[in-house]
Point group: C2
Chain length 123, copies 2
């Protein structure tokens, strides 16, 4: 039902944060990689710095969190979820954290994460 | 416990979307106006265009949603919530919608909302 919910709260330009949370993320081969756990937003500018992909663990307990640059995600209406151009092997080496050990989220970390996905870090 | 949750998922620069959702919003007199329902995010740029204040109704049913420019909100650690420089009289005349009748969220609507709060519309 996530697809229907997104359609309801999505306009041509904007999307609702609480509808993105929980949305599935697939790779280009249609393999489910996980789901969006949350966004990390810059408090001053209001820009989303990361959409956080979650997988592993049971109902979020012990799961790994993978911060992704916003631009890496594309909404795919056919799949009713986000598509990313990543394979599991790349994700397995990607920057990640568990919910009880969050990184500092400073700019060095930002450059590391964005750099891993080949995206320039704009913050 | 919202205050503790925010402290956990908040860094000096970034804040987690799922911790902002549900956070109380107070005015400068310490009066509770409502709580944050969600954010509306620009899909291309990843910028938060509105933080949506909810009040009225029962458990969100039939409640009014007030889209606020991000810059109108300031986190107040003493209150464990957001502070806005608005009184109830101003909010009562503010742009609002119910969840079953969302606006188009086009740029005309953006200029109307931002203009009401005296903020220039940057999108």
């Amino acid at each position: 039902m996530v697809q229907a919910d997104i359609a309801t709260d999505e306009t041509s330009r904007l999307i609702a944060s609480n509808k993105v949370e929980g949305t599935n993320v697939y790779n280009r081969e249609g393999e489910k990689l996980g789901s969006i756990y949350n966004f990390m937003v810059d408090k001053r500018s209001g820009r989303v710095e990361y959409a956080v992909l979650q997988f592993g663990g049971l109902f979020g307990l012990g799961s790994d969190h993978y911060p992704l640059p916003w631009d890496v995600l594309t909404y795919d209406t056919a799949q009713g979820g986000y598509a990313v151009n990543l394979d599991r092997a790349m994700l397995e080496k990607a920057p990640r954290y568990t919910s009880d050990r969050e990184p500092a989220f400073d700019r060095d970390y930002g450059r590391e994460v964005y750099g891993y996905y080949g995206v320039s870090y704009p913050f």
